[in-house]
Symmetry: C2
Subunit: 335 residues, 2 copies
DNA sequence: CTGAAAGCGCTTACAG
DNA sequence: CTGAAAGCGCTTACAG
């Protein structure tokens, strides 16, 4: 492992200069095709593997992106962020980049402990995947890498972000319920807990407004406390005919709660979720939900990041990616 | 971003040499503590960030490990490998390493497409996380990086591995059932599908042998085909009093199947699983299972990897990590 | 305790 | 079409 073949070795073997080898291996038009062929063949025979460490130093660029994410997004029932990571890193691969991935523990987040990759300039840019504490984000930003927030935004910092169009998606799914005859619709989610939930709520609210349906405050139900810990869902005395839930887990818990009170879903109450997570499929009935376009989000983030690095920190602002409604069994039409 | 402060800048500012700066920043005893202090202070003031690219080239070491894993382990109900990744990369961080993470798509695995990190020597070693196709593994090994297999082994290649002690864990959990009075015990899992399932079966079998309980072939039930695709579980006419399932998902499906046939779990039949995955908790009743010690597996893999790199490819062989039985509700004692 | 020299593997700008 | 020179940011071995 320790003694790898270098361009110099190939050059010496063929009696050419290493500049020529370098150019041939990157298929430069400078080199005659016959020589190119010979060099490529010899490189293969000698077991040459390109060593990016030289280029890294020369260009002061690692062609590597650091992805940073909080461990709280990788619990047993969170499929979402690992899938998003997969799409992001695959897109980066195609652009010639590698990806380092740090799942930050709660204690490291509290201690503002920064991954080695950023401490030692082993990445050219940073993607923060999912909301983290403001202090932690600030700490990361203090290293001055080109940065993109993925799946969240934060107006406190003027950082580009790629997010799913939460507002529009709940607007659409609420409209779907209204078209199916529902006029008494509740929302389940703590609208102060995260900006995603807030936006989803506002999309829900816009659909009501457009259809001149009153917002009943008793039908806005908390699913978690302000620190994002799930709490027991308390059903109102008078039930609406449908609930829009801020996420599938909450939809699942809402359905369980309704069932435990003797209600049937969707016969008595319709329920919709968000995320298309495992809960949507394991629930009985299976939950009609919104599938976020993770592939598109990953691709756009990768492209944005690479452009920022190569073209000197362009600004993009907020990029919204549309989701898609997935129809399952948890909604009943009233007309 | 582009013009970062370097050691040279600090040296010039203070009128010392960059060797002195380098030594001071790594707290070498060569430098007087007063000068050291001055250099560290100036570095901070100037916003110096250590640039590992220089060291990488010098030492031909990136202090980075590539983790490669198949996308099939990151489905909606797989929590396992991302957790293992987290522990592994956290352990590597503590040893001063960064981790690149590639989730290989099925098509890339078929095409033997290798991550950029390996193509360009951007890592010092490789961890393959979870079984992949032999061809793909062979391709990866052809790059001659120090390699560790994590959570699987393959006698075809003489590569070090860190695996959970599947054999011993099902041996233990089967013994637990026997101690609780069960003598009619089945196994659910295709024992030809993976080496893990095979080892788990053999641990089960050993417990039977030790207790002079006959192995009833009708009670060895397939949960998947030989390509690892889950199939409908077919219950035998005469049921045993307990099933040892090769994983929680299978335990979950077995319980669902039993319930649909009118049996009660654990009153009529006890069921145990393996992995302590989401299925174990979402199932009703919750499943008694084996929790694998992912933290220990990550830590041992990290240590092994770093030692191989620094001490020149030591060999370790097969390292077995013990799991732990988690008692829940799906087992009833018969005495 | 401090520093000048050499070099890691590559690429770019330039000369021929 | 080919190559000599310079340099990216660091560290090690050595001289003083």
């Amino acid at each position: 492992m320790n003694k790898r073949v270098t361009m110099k070795d190939i050059a010496e073997k063929l009696g050419v200069s290493k500049v020529t080898v370098s150019k041939a291996l990157k298929d430069s038009p400078d080199i005659s095709s016959s020589l190119k062929e010979k060099i490529i063949k010899t490189a293969q025979e000698m077991g040459y593997i390109y060593n990016a460490k030289g280029r890294m130093l020369r260009e002061n660029l690692t062609y590597s992106i650091g992805v940073i994410s909080s461990e709280k997004y990788y619990g047993k029932d969170d499929y979402f962020y690992i899938d998003l990571y997969k799409h992001l890193s695959n897109s980066l691969e195609k652009l010639g980049f590698t990806t380092t991935f740090n799942i930050i523990s709660q204690s490291d987040e509290n201690d503002l402990s920064v991954p080695n990759a950023l401490l030692e300039q082993k990445v050219d840019g940073v993607v923060i995947l999912g909301q983290m504490s403001l202090d932690y984000i600030q700490k990361i930003l203090s290293y001055n890498y080109p940065t993109v927030f993925l799946d969240f935004y934060c107006d406190k910092f003027n950082v580009d972000c790629v997010i799913t169009d939460n507002f529009y998606a709940t607007y659409e799914i609420t409209n779907m319920l209204i078209e199916q005859g529902h006029t008494q619709i509740g929302f389940v989610g703590n609208i102060y807990a995260t900006s995603s939930i807030q936006d989803r709520f506002l999309g829900f609210y816009k659909a009501l407004l457009e259809n001149k349906i009153d917002l009943n405050k008793d039908w806005i139900i908390k699913d978690r406390d302000d620190n994002n810990n799930f709490i027991d869902i308390i059903l109102p005395k008078n039930l609406p005919t449908a609930f829009v839930c801020n996420c599938d887990k909450t939809a699942y818990l809402t359905i369980e709660k309704l069932k435990s009170r003797g209600y049937k879903v969707p016969d008595d109450v319709s329920v919709v979720g968000f995320d298309d997570s495992l809960h949507a499929v394991l629930s009985q009935p299976k939950i009609t939900t919104v599938r976020v376009n993770l592939e598109e989000m990953g691709r756009r983030t990768a492209k944005m990041m690479v452009e920022k690095i190569k073209q000197g920190e362009k600004h993009y602002g907020k990029m919204l990616i549309k989701g898609k409604i997935i129809i399952r069994e948890s909604v009943k039409a009233l007309k």
